[in-house]
Subunit: 249 residues, 4 copies
């Protein structure tokens, strides 16, 4: 199983998240590419450190929206969105290459991630960028999403990710954050769910049934002290359960 987290999300003078701690816990780093966060010098440091520590580097591509941190949907035309993704992919690749490695996957950020989970037009635009750049580069996204479907149609590999701290519906989808109980807080419960997802590719849904989830990576957060602790517990529980942690890409 792979553990992924968002990294390099500072910008110039502004820092965000405990990258040093996370780089000791995860196997894949979704590195911000400059459109929602991540100035070039921050990207450079982040990628170098990730490569040094054997963490796989992925492109955390976003809408162009620094002030909104990429959390607001934008009605970008498909051709523009494809170009935006190509631009970010290439920019990150330069640092990976300079560090002796390469970009190993793409994970869209924030509002773009959510939008392409349900919008086939923007999903196809993102996938088209990957196809034009390198059709063997995997897209990390939600199982069953429009993005996964678009990748399948384009012949781009798609990898499912799961969230051990999120509630799932009985048909294997995430419960919306607007619903009560959508985010789980108890570290023990979250760690146990991570183990179930990693070892049996199943998760307990909100109605108590266990549903299958096709995940090869689990996402952990790192922008609060509590989040890093939680990530640490998840990692420890996975290790204890005999799960091998390694990059999916």
């Amino acid at each position: 199983m792979d553990l992924n987290s968002d990294l390099g999300e500072g910008y110039g003078r502004w820092a965000l998240g405990d990258d040093a701690a996370l780089l000791g816990l995860v196997t894949s780093a979704n590195v911000a590419c400059g459109f929602h966060a991540g100035d070039p010098a921050t990207i450079d440091r982040t990628v170098r450190t990730a490569v040094e520590r054997g963490v796989s580097v992925g492109a955390q591509v976003s809408y162009p929206d620094l002030v909104g941190f990429g959390r607001r949907e934008i009605d970008v035309e498909p051709a523009d969105l494809t170009a935006d993704v190509l631009y970010q992919l290439g920019a990150l690749e330069a640092f990976a290459r300079a560090a002796g490695d390469r970009v190993r996957y793409v994970k869209p950020h924030g509002a773009l991630y959510n939008r392409i989970a349900r919008d086939p037009v923007q999903a196809a635009a993102v996938v088209d960028a990957i196809r034009r750049y390198d059709p063997a580069l995997p897209l990390l996204t939600l199982p069953g999403s429009a993005a996964m479907e678009a990748a399948r149609e384009a012949g781009v590999p798609a990898v499912g990710e799961g969230f051990a701290d999120r509630a799932y519906t009985a048909d294997g989808r995430l419960v919306s954050r607007r619903e009560p109980g959508a985010v789980l807080q108890d570290p023990g419960q979250v760690a146990a769910r991570a183990v179930l997802m990693a070892t049996e590719r199943r998760v307990e849904s909100v109605d108590g049934t266990e549903v299958e989830v096709g995940v090869r990576s689990l996402c952990v957060h790192g922008d609060t002290p509590g989040a890093v602790d939680l990530a640490r517990k998840v990692r420890a529980a996975l290790k204890e359960a005999g799960v091998t942690l390694e990059p999916f890409a």
Copy 2:
């Protein structure tokens, strides 16, 4: 001999220059990379067309300064400047790669071009980005500049460029634009100088002597109707003189 020109310098809704005309005249396109001009969709179109027409694609890297069009010097720290250049190089490369080609050289833009002609610190920072990215990638710059010296020290190939419409001093430097007569207007005179530079690597200086100029590329401008006409005359004169026009890279 190579003819190079700045291309793709629009930004979103804003167009600039007659790219269509220039792509029929030049052999190398210095494509804006988004920091002074060139949004991703504009880069995509520009690179595709250049590749289709057999024009060599170079990275026109810049200070981050859209509002100032990269024409204002910025006291960027060396490590930040290196990262800025890597970022732009990689971003452009994605489009070149998607178009079936690659970035073939680097030509800094505007204030950065002028700054690294005389400032060894910023020059070394730019060259370091090239060295880390691909030490075989040539830097297109002024003969005798600090940039050329920095490239030589780093083992990065440097290629000299000349300006047929600019006055030269007796030691082979450009006369400052602030001096009267620094820019030549007469198309016949400019074309004749281009031929002399291309065939004999010499140019007549302001004191009437001929000086050697180590140039493998001539820069032509395209952002005014008159400039395109001038470029056309220069190209025609070179052809007539039997000069083969081909990309230097």
Copy 3:
């Protein structure tokens, strides 16, 4: 009747539209405020010239989207949108004040204009900025829009504008640009419609009936040579019909 047009929509090195021609034709200038176009120096020149020529200055506020020219809807939170509008209003006011005048109205731009015509939440957020800044400042918008309704509820004056070159439905709404025949091309027809709107506050709808339109300003475009000619014809026809052209604010 008032004639309004978008002005000052260049950005740094990039020019757009024939501001000089338009400032001789219109009575109100919707000046870009920096979020979709309009760098500070361009705003300065535009506002000075407008004030010198007796043209009323309005704030053409926008989503923060230079690369998309404010033409893409963004899901901005209401409090952020209110702050974005306040920021732009104040920025423009500084130039109006320095030119001896003040901002006399607000006309949102592009995607924001369209969004608040139908979305009461973003409409209320824009109106709230005006109310907090100066509740006597008019909002120029579509008659019958959510924006007009939000202004009415907040006690902010709203002024309706019309488009002589756009087709109207039988209930006085604009026909969507996606429909055939939405934009009228014939200068004589457009000028005649402008006169009917100005003199009788009526317009012929697509089904041939005349409908009332509560407009105190007509919008003319200027970013193509043909558009300026059309604006000139509209102005001449209005003059000939005895319509007094004067700022509504």
Copy 4:
């Protein structure tokens, strides 16, 4: 005596400094205006809170340089710099006005502050913006600087500020940060210097002599926990010495 500090220097998702603590200590808030920090929503919150707590609001204008946090000198043309300052002044004023107050002074930020302390051309450009906006608005700057001289020539009031934690030369200038001992760390010593500056307008220079300093405001920093503690000690020492703390503007 006045105590001023930089506030509102976050940007969107990124926070910076302990604004809540500082607003309880200072009498003047230099609020970032969006060019080096300070998105509109952050400005809105910061200005509202400052006004509620009776803290005077000043415009912390900057070069346009988010990624460099305004810490890099830019060779902006004077007319552009004047327009940049007008733009920021007006933007901040909108929030002050919406909060029932107004902008009471201007204090340039970072590299612009340092540049106009020695460069009369950029100094005059900044002062010209103030003069055009409101010639009664004070400029807060270094005693004896080019900025102070430019203000005097333009008839704009200039107010001197001092730094209790910085070493001074025998002629009353700041020792460069590049010199050893330029920044004082001992809280007791810093507090004692603040008291001497506030009560006698004098400071002990590096060669042991006391020099006069024409200051009406002392600058305290707040972007580290230690800095807030130091500000607290300075404030307490001034109170104890019977110094009345109140806004200079």
